[in-house]
């Protein structure tokens, strides 16, 4: 690159500026996102101005109403045809409103409503000092075991800030799969990650574990987002733009006007390959794919269980949405380079997730490794690189998220004196003591294992079918093998629950309020409906599988 190719920015800046055009923002199409952001800000104000006693009620109501309103806006947009015929790029090219966007946003919102219900549960622990207590710490700033913590508990404080934090995270997740330029992608990533780091640190019981989980998640998350940002900078250098459409043109070589600087950089494949790889790395970290999965078990174990469920479901949906858009819209011209890499990652992820899960003794860690294995299965659908691949991934994400939230909600119910009894040995004989809870958990485990008549089977079938048709037959073989390995440890938990003697000092099963019951019931319902009659939802995902560009 010669110095003469360098533009002189200051000469243009010295000339009088033309009238700056105000951007056109399609507020209607952005309504789902704007409603959630608005509600989050109102939630912050409630936190500042309402008396402590009134906050819980107000925050929960606000959050659920906002999520429902946002979902209604999604339905309205889908009815108006924005998912199919009127799919377009809004907000001056920053946000794509198309089928995958609306489908994933809808999934995220529904999963979030269910997750927020588990956040709001206050019946699991007995009342202390006459106050209901939930899963979140009385006062996050107080040192665990200190006098200030005890007085905060005695005063009945609760961290109602979790609801605005969750809303901010949800807003970021809504933008993430819709982002149509790299800057929006990065900002959305941070907007949903930062609140999640905080939520992880807010467990009421086992606070040291919770804080440790938050530190690990934060440091690794910030590390991976720095890599992603460097990738963004390199891709920007390669294409001279951060817009997805523009980068795709430059990658294809179909770009119309080439100035000398662009001619210089677009000949440099190192920029493109390293940049693309680093961005993929950032997304695969959020997805929890091997070898970027190291944070998953620790964070899932340490975080408050309702937050774990929320994170496991909604983050995965958002991150896979962004991954799909990046691979299908920005880098299709590079697929001969990324497909082999993704093949390797998918195989390692499926096998490592399934095999390491066998050795786990903690139910939350077990579910964490299971989520890693599931990330591998979904990656198989991503690799297919066909419209069927997209729709199968969309369907799988929808099916998986509700099962996950339901399973973690069941984990919150099984308790002993120290809070949740997450060690697997404590679950022995649960089926004798409370058959209903054990049966529900068994349904979720069977769905994770992909047994027919559950949503897990329909999802896996769709994904593997798409992968086989997309020319990834070997991947399907590995997928089925690791499903068999995974089935072993799911069945082992079921056997443990139903066919071993309950221990004398075993945990008790708390009777939840209507909120957690609703969350679990939603999980069971989705599992069975998507397992028994998946066709309508497969069609829906099929219609929603075309990206706007």
């Amino acid at each position: 690159m010669s110095p003469t190719a360098v533009h002189s920015l200051w000469t243009t800046a010295a000339e009088p500026l033309d009238k700056i055009q105000a951007p056109d923002i399609e507020y209607g199409q952005l309504a789902p996102i704007l409603i959630v952001v608005g509600a989050a800000i109102v939630g912050l104000l409630l936190e500042a101005f309402l008396p402590r006693r009134a906050r819980y009620q107000a925050q929960v109501t606000l959050t659920v109403v906002a999520l429902a309103a946002s979902f209604a806006a999604i339905i309205a947009l889908a009815q108006a045809g924005y998912g199919t015929t009127k799919a377009n790029v809004a907000a001056m090219g920053a946000i794509a409103i198309d089928g995958p966007t609306l489908f994933l946003q809808g999934t995220i919102l529904l999963a979030s409503v269910v997750a927020v219900l588990t956040f709001a549960e206050r019946r699991l622990d007995p009342e202390t000092h006459g106050n209901h207590i939930d899963s979140f710490v009385a006062q996050a700033a107080s040192v665990p075991g200190s006098d200030s913590e005890k007085s905060a508990v005695r005063a009945g404080f609760t961290t109602t800030e979790v609801y605005p934090l969750a809303l901010f995270a949800i807003a970021g997740m809504l933008v993430f799969p819709a982002a149509n330029d790299l800057l929006t992608l990065f900002v959305a990533l941070e907007v949903f990650s930062l609140p999640l780091y905080l939520l992880c640190a807010l467990a009421r019981r086992k606070r040291l574990l919770s804080q440790e989980a938050a530190v690990k998640y934060f440091l690794l998350g910030a590390f991976s987002s720095a890599f992603m940002l460097f990738g963004i900078a390199l891709l920007y250098g390669y294409a001279g733009s951060v817009s997805y459409a523009r980068i795709a043109e430059v990658v294809d070589g179909s770009v119309r006007t080439i100035d000398p600087a662009l001619a210089d950089t677009m000949g440099n494949d190192a920029l493109l390959l390293i940049g693309g790889a680093l961005i993929l790395m950032g997304l695969l970290f959020k997805v929890g794919a091997v070898p970027f999965h190291m944070w998953t078990p620790d964070v899932y174990q340490g975080a408050p269980t309702p937050v774990t469920g929320f994170m496991a479901a909604a983050t995965k949906v958002a991150a896979f949405g962004a991954l799909l858009r990046l691979l299908y819209v920005v880098l299709p011209g590079l697929r001969w380079d990324w497909r082999p890499v993704m093949w390797a990652i998918a195989i390692v992820t499926m096998l490592a997730g399934a095999i390491v899960a066998i050795t786990q003794t903690d139910i939350k860690r077990l579910l964490a490794y299971s989520s890693i294995a599931h990330a591998g299965f979904i990656l198989a659908g991503v690799i297919a690189f066909t419209p069927d691949g997209v729709s199968s991934v969309l369907f799988y994400l929808g099916a998986y998220s509700f099962v996950t939230i339901g399973a973690f909600a069941v984990v919150t119910l099984v308790r002993d004196a120290g809070g949740e009894a997450t060690h697997l040995s404590k679950w022995a004989g649960l089926g004798r003591r409370s058959p209903l809870v054990a049966a529900v958990f068994a349904v979720f485990l069977l769905s994770f294992a992909g047994i027919p008549l559950t949503s897990g089977f329909s999802g896996k079938f769709a994904v593997f079918k798409a992968a086989a048709e997309g020319g990834a037959g070997a991947l399907v073989v590995v997928g089925v093998l690791s499903s068999a390995i995974a089935a072993f440890f799911y069945i082992r938990v079921i056997v443990l629950m139903f066919f071993s003697e309950p221990k004398a000092d075993g945990p008790t099963v708390a009777v939840p309020s209507a909120m957690t019951s609703t969350a679990i019931a939603a999980g069971v319902l989705v599992t069975l409906v998507l397992g028994l009659a998946p066709q309508y939802f497969l069609d829906l995902a099929g219609q929603a599988s075309v990206f706007a560009r």
Partner: protein, 99 residues
């Protein structure tokens, strides 16, 4: 001066930051190394912005600064709360959860 040199400098800074994250044991220092990586990204963006003659890279650099500031707020809160409960900010000591 040829702006490509700034890219080399930025890559060097980024590598120093990444190595620091992997080597250092104090959570605060690890976090400082991450900030160094973000700033290396900024330098890359601004250098490319100059080469391409458009302002996108400079605008992104501003966004990155805001994001980095937000990250400091969240990160220091988490690290300080960990320090207060353990009297240590070493990432090696934080190992209650093992396989």
């Amino acid at each position: 001066m040829n702006p490509v040199n700034y890219l080399y400098l930025a890559a060097l800074l980024f590598t120093i930051g990444a190595a620091g994250v992997l080597i250092r044991r104090n959570a605060i220092v690890v976090f400082m190394c991450i900030e160094l990586m973000l700033n290396a990204c900024n330098l890359t963006l601004v250098a490319f912005s100059r080469m391409h003659g458009n302002l996108d890279g400079q605008i992104i650099a501003f966004f990155v600064m805001v994001v980095a500031a937000a990250e400091v707020v969240v990160g220091l809160a988490i690290i300080v709360s960990l320090f207060r409960s353990r009297h240590s900010a070493s990432v090696d000591d934080a190992s209650l959860m093992k396989l």
